[in-house]
Amino acid sequence: MKKEDTVKLISSDGFEFIVDKEAAMVSQTIRNMLTSPGSFAERQHGEVTFPEISTTILEKICQYFYWHLEFASGKDREFPIEPELTLELMMAANYLHT
C-alpha cells in the first residue's frame, strides 16, 4: 500500500490501524474528514484518533470496511459479528455513519 493512499485510524488505547483510504471512506464520517474543502488537522497528518472507540471495536470496523468493499453488492455473504460486540459496534457504526 502506498503511503498517500492510506490513513491511520487510532483507537482509544492508542492502537494504530493503517488502512486504505478507500476502505476508511466507507464511513461517511471519515470520508467527510478526509475530503472536506478546508484542511482539518486530520487530513494534514493523515490520521484520525477515536478516543471513544476501543481497539477491539475499531479492529472489527476496519474488517467491516474491507468486507463492504468486497461483498456489499452481493447478498450471499454475511459479515460475522461476535454477539458481545454487537452493542458497541452498533454505536460505533452510528457514530461513523457506516
Binding site: T29, P37, G38, A41, I81, E84, H97
Partner: protein
C-alpha cells in the same frame, strides 16, 4: 450488519461515556464547538481536529441538546456574516465586488467544513425538528445578512448594471468578476438572481435598446438597420455566455426582439428606397434572408412580410399580363411569366428557407393567372 445466534451468555457493559448529559457539560461541549467555528472563519481550520468537534456535536444531539447546538450555530454564523458585511460595506469603488467575492468564497468554504463536522446533527436532529439543513442554512444566512444588507443590496445591483452599461459603450470590464458574482447569486437561489440582478438588468437593457433603435432607425437604411439588430443580438449572446446565467439568454433576446424589431416591422418593410419591395426587386437575397429570420422571431413579423410580398407578387403578375395581353408574341408572354415565377421561387429558396407557406401562396398566385 447482521447477527449470528448467541453462543454464550454475555454481560452487557455500561457505556464508556456518561449516558445522561447535564446542561453544564452540554454548554462546555457547545463552547468547544463554537471555538472551532471561530477558528474555521478565522482561516485557522488546520488547528481544528474534525473528529473532536464531530464527537462533541454527536454527543449533544444524542443527549437531546440538538436545539442548543443548532441555535448556537445560527448565532455564531450570523455574527461572522455581519462582520463580513461590514467589511464589504466599507470598500471604495471598484474593490466592492472583489471584496464581496472574496468573502463569499471564504464563507462558502467554511460552510462546507461546518456542514461536514455537523453531519450527525444534519442527519438526525434536523429532519426530526424540521429545521433547515446546515448547507442551505448557511446560504440563507449569507443572503439575509450580506446580500440583503441595506448598504449592500442596491449597491450590488447598481455596480453590476453599471459595469454592463460601460461595456456596452465599449469599455473593457472584468468579466470574470461579474461571472463569479452572478454565479454566487444563482447559488443562493434563482429568485435571488432574478430579483437582485436579472430583472433590473432586463429593464435597463430595454431602455438601452429602445434608445439605440431610435438612433439607428433614423439614420440607417433597412438593410443596415437589420445588420445592426443582428450585431446586437450576437453581442448579448456573447454576454450571456461570458458572465450571465444561461436562463437569461431567452429573456434578453426577447427584449431586443421587442425593442428593435417588433416596434418597427411595418416601418422597415415600407422604408422608402430600401424596404421589402426594393429588396425583392433587386434580388437582395442576404438582406431578405436577414429580414425573414429576424421578423420570424416576433409574433406578427412573418405575416407582415408574407402579406406585403404576396400582394406585390399578384400585382406584378397582373401588370405583366395586362402588358403582354397587348403584345402579339405569346411565347415572350409565357417566358416572362415563367421568369417572374422563377425569380420569386429563387427568393423563397435562398432567403426564406423554402418556406412552405410562401411556396404555396406563390403557386396559387401563379395558378390564378395562368388560367387565362
Amino acid at each position: 450488519m447482521s447477527n449470528h445466534h448467541m453462543k454464550k451468555h454475555f454481560p452487557i457493559e455500561a457505556f464508556k461515556h456518561k449516558v445522561i448529559m447535564d446542561p453544564n457539560i452540554a454548554h462546555e461541549n457547545w463552547k468547544i464547538i463554537e471555538h472551532a467555528i471561530h477558528q474555521i472563519y478565522n482561516h485557522n481550520a488546520n488547528a481544528v481536529a474534525c473528529e473532536v468537534i464531530y464527537r462533541h456535536a454527536y454527543n449533544m444531539v444524542l443527549q437531546n441538546f440538538g436545539e442548543k447546538l443548532y441555535s448556537g450555530l445560527v448565532a455564531t454564523m450570523t455574527s461572522h456574516l455581519k462582520e463580513m458585511a461590514t467589511s464589504i460595506e466599507g470598500t471604495q469603488g471598484d474593490s466592492f465586488l472583489e471584496e464581496l467575492n472574496k468573502k463569499w468564497n471564504h464563507h462558502h468554504k467554511s460552510l462546507q467544513m461546518i456542514r461536514d463536522i455537523m453531519m450527525y446533527m444534519d442527519n438526525k436532529y434536523v429532519p426530526n425538528a424540521q429545521k433547515t439543513p446546515v448547507y442551505e442554512l448557511g446560504l440563507n444566512l449569507w443572503t439575509e445578512h450580506v446580500i440583503y444588507s441595506e448598504q449592500i443590496k442596491t449597491r450590488l445591483s447598481n455596480t453590476l448594471l453599471d459595469l454592463i452599461c460601460r461595456e456596452r459603450v465599449g469599455e473593457d470590464v472584468n468579466g470574470e468578476l461579474i461571472r463569479n458574482t452572478t454565479k454566487m447569486l444563482m447559488d443562493l437561489g434563482s429568485s435571488v438572481y432574478e430579483q437582485e440582478f436579472e430583472t433590473p438588468f432586463l429593464q435597463v437593457s430595454a431602455e438601452f435598446y429602445r434608445a439605440e433603435s431610435q438612433k439607428f432607425i433614423d439614420c440607417c437604411d433597412c438593410g443596415d438597420y437589420l445588420k445592426t439588430v443582428e450585431r446586437c443580438l450576437d453581442e448579448e449572446m456573447d454576454r450571456v455566455c461570458e458572465y450571465l446565467d444561461p436562463s437569461t439568454e431567452k429573456k434578453i433576446t426577447n427584449v431586443i426582439e421587442k425593442e428593435m424589431i417588433a416596434n418597427y416591422t411595418l416601418r422597415l418593410i415600407h422604408m422608402e428606397n430600401s424596404g421589402l419591395l426594393n429588396m425583392l426587386r433587386d434580388d437582395k437575397y442576404e438582406d431578405l434572408c436577414r429580414m425573414y429570420n429576424l421578423f420570424c422571431r416576433v409574433s406578427d413579423g412573418f405575416y407582415k412580410i408574407f402579406e406585403v410580398m404576396i400582394l406585390h407578387v399578384r400585382k406584378s403578375f397582373k401588370e405583366l399580363i395586362t402588358q403582354l395581353e397587348r403584345s402579339d408574341d405569346p411565347s415572350e408572354f409565357v417566358q416572362r411569366l415563367l421568369d417572374e415565377q422563377h425569380k420569386y421561387e429563387k427568393i423563397i429558396n435562398l432567403a426564406f428557407n423554402n418556406d412552405k407557406l410562401f411556396q404555396y401562396a406563390l403557386y396559387c398566385s401563379f395558378e390564378v393567372f395562368t388560367d387565362f
